[in-house]
């Protein structure tokens, strides 16, 4: 087994998703290389070299790779993949954008969102919003895999890999980065938070999310949302938890005013403990909740805030 992990990073440091993906790679074998493709990405490459289990960091440092454009990055991955049995990437929007283009260039049928590794060619993945789990065997010579990061622990950072430069990046001229609007928050990221409190349509307005934020601050929690709350414009798109948003699996997930459509459950039902706060006692969210509280959320949230304050 020779495994290439495509590292997600911001040129300065690795994203946590890369650490989960390395753990998935370790289930396949111990010859693991980690690609850091970016521009002025030396710091990210040094961070990558500390990831336990990584033998070599491949650093592709080129201006054409600055913005992770698929048209520039995917051909480089396809070029490098020839030396490996497996290529793994996190199933984040970064990985979902880049990996299928690389797989098609290699004439490989990618396996998306892998949550379990049964053998060198056999993988488990959720289908139908996680309402079924498929075990599939790949017949392709190179296995191209995107990894569901919540299904694998984070690799530790006690390694000492070598860093090698790789060339071959080329500007395609097909697309250009033209700006971004990133949500800035002092709170933990949704995909790595230990505790998440999410609001749904029941929150009734974006302003009312301040009630969730005050509780989040007491618990050091991230704030999420259902699709309904995002569609209604209460919060930005990157808050969305669900089948087509972010998949999360924190220790504690508190769903407030969320009815529990299957598409939302798909994104959070692997959480260790689920709390549902909803005034509709028939809401499907109660079927997956460890603790359910049937109450008007506008009464419940101030009381919860006060109870947390008293306790600590």
């Amino acid at each position: 087994m020779a495994i290439l992990v495509i590292g997600e990073h911001d040129n300065d440091e690795l994203k946590p998703s890369t650490l989960n993906t390395v753990t998935a790679a370790q289930e396949l074998g111990d010859e693991i290389d980690l690609l850091i493709a970016g521009a002025n990405c030396g710091a990210a490459a040094e961070h990558a070299a500390r990831v336990t289990g990584v033998k070599r960091v491949l650093k592709a440092d080129d201006p054409s790779l600055a913005d992770s454009l698929a048209e520039n990055l995917s051909p480089l991955i396809a070029k490098l993949a020839g030396g490996y049995t497996h290529v793994l990437i996190p199933a984040s929007t970064y990985g979902k954008n880049i990996m299928p283009r690389a797989a098609a260039l290699l004439d490989v049928q990618q396996i998306s969102d892998v949550s379990g590794i049964e053998g060198e060619d056999t993988f488990v993945r959720p289908i139908y919003a996680g309402n079924a789990m498929a075990t599939v065997r790949s017949k392709d010579a190179i296995k191209m895999i995107s990894v569901r990061t919540t299904a694998f622990e984070s690799a530790t950072e006690e390694g000492e890999a070598t860093i090698e430069e790789v060339a071959g990046a080329q500007e395609s001229g097909l697309s250009k980065f033209a700006g971004e609007e990133l949500t800035r928050s002092e709170r933990p990221e949704l995909t790595t938070a230990d505790i998440i409190i999410s609001g749904g349509r029941g929150m009734k307005s974006g302003d009312n999310f301040a009630m969730l934020e005050r509780i989040a601050d007491r618990l050091n929690a991230a704030v999420g949302a259902s699709r309904a709350a995002v569609d209604a414009g209460y919060v930005p798109n990157d808050y969305q938890v669900g089948q087509t948003g972010k998949v999360v699996a924190p220790n504690l997930y508190i769903a407030v005013g969320i009815s529990g459509a299957i598409q939302h459950l798909a994104g959070m039902k692997d959480s260790k403990v689920i709390v549902a706060i909803n005034k509709d006692e028939e809401a499907p969210i109660f079927q997956v909740a460890d603790y359910g509280w049937v109450v008007d959320l506008f009464e419940a949230l101030p009381q919860l805030e006060a109870a947390l304050g008293e306790g600590g």
């Binding site: 454009l69 048209e71 995917s74 990618q110 798109n237």
Partner: protein
């Protein structure tokens, strides 16, 4: 400019799927089917481009069994002009679909391909990216805004950290996210008219495309079930249980 919109027939998004007892897949018999919700958004966007005068013709295409004609007719009723069915009894994988679509792009030479970012059955999220790769075209995935100009396609993408803007050199492939638009319902007169719109059928071999699966499904099972827990009656009781019973705060 012509626009090509690939669509897929899937189990209706509101139906709870059931795994077959022999673990070979999910039950599709006597289950309500519908157009994949992301595909509806793609069709809607193409119609809006046509209404704004930027597009002359909308061609919808699908790869699947004969019943997929229903999905094509639904897209024609929304406002697409003509349809192509690539008929196969195989369950087509994204790579095979992308190869089939490439063959149609080579024939029809559209300036833009608009498709859903994923189908809610396989949840693969691959076909658009693979099609762009095979064509050597630019790609904008997971878009929530689209501006088509003479020599540039501007997209806003929904990414994990927020929003990203890209400028694509046409011809381009774009895959649509949920918030791009709200698809219209087809009117009864348009449903009637759609029955008379042209629908061509090809087989994959007509297009010289090999759709033999690259993966083998070994089993499909139910996920581990979660059981409903207990009800609490106050904030104090909830906090106490989270601290002392669940030990998560």
């Amino acid at each position: 400019m012509k626009v090509l919109v690939p669509v897929k027939r899937v189990i209706d998004a509101n139906i709870k799927v059931r795994v077959k007892s022999d673990q070979s897949g999910v039950e599709l018999n006597n289950v309500k089917m519908a157009m994949n919700p992301f595909c509806e958004i793609a069709v809607e966007q193409a119609i809006r481009l046509k209404e704004s005068g930027l597009v002359d013709e909308i061609i919808v295409v699908t790869v699947g069994a004969a019943q997929s004609q229903e999905t094509l007719r639904a897209a024609l009723a929304m406002g697409a002009d003509r349809a192509i069915l690539i008929e196969t009894e195989e369950t087509p994988e994204p790579l095979a679909v992308a190869k089939s679509l490439k063959a149609i792009v080579d024939r029809e030479e559209p300036g833009l391909v608009i498709l859903g970012k994923q189908a809610i059955d396989g949840d693969n999220n691959q076909t658009g990216q693979m099609l762009a790769a095979l064509l050597g075209w630019s790609i904008g995935t997971f878009i929530s805004d689209l501006v088509v100009e003479e020599s540039i396609v501007k997209v806003t993408r929904e990414v994990d950290g927020g929003l990203e803007k890209l400028e694509l050199v046409p011809p381009a492939v774009v895959t649509v996210d949920l918030r791009l638009n709200e698809p219209r319902y087809a009117s009864l007169p348009n449903i009637m008219k759609a029955k008379k719109k042209p629908l061509d059928t090809f087989s994959p071999s007509d297009l010289n495309v090999d759709v033999t699966p690259r993966t083998e499904v070994i089993s499909v099972v139910e996920p581990p079930a979660r059981e409903a827990g207990v009800r609490v009656g106050s904030a104090e009781e909830l906090v106490e249980k989270l601290k002392n019973e669940a030990k998560v705060i």
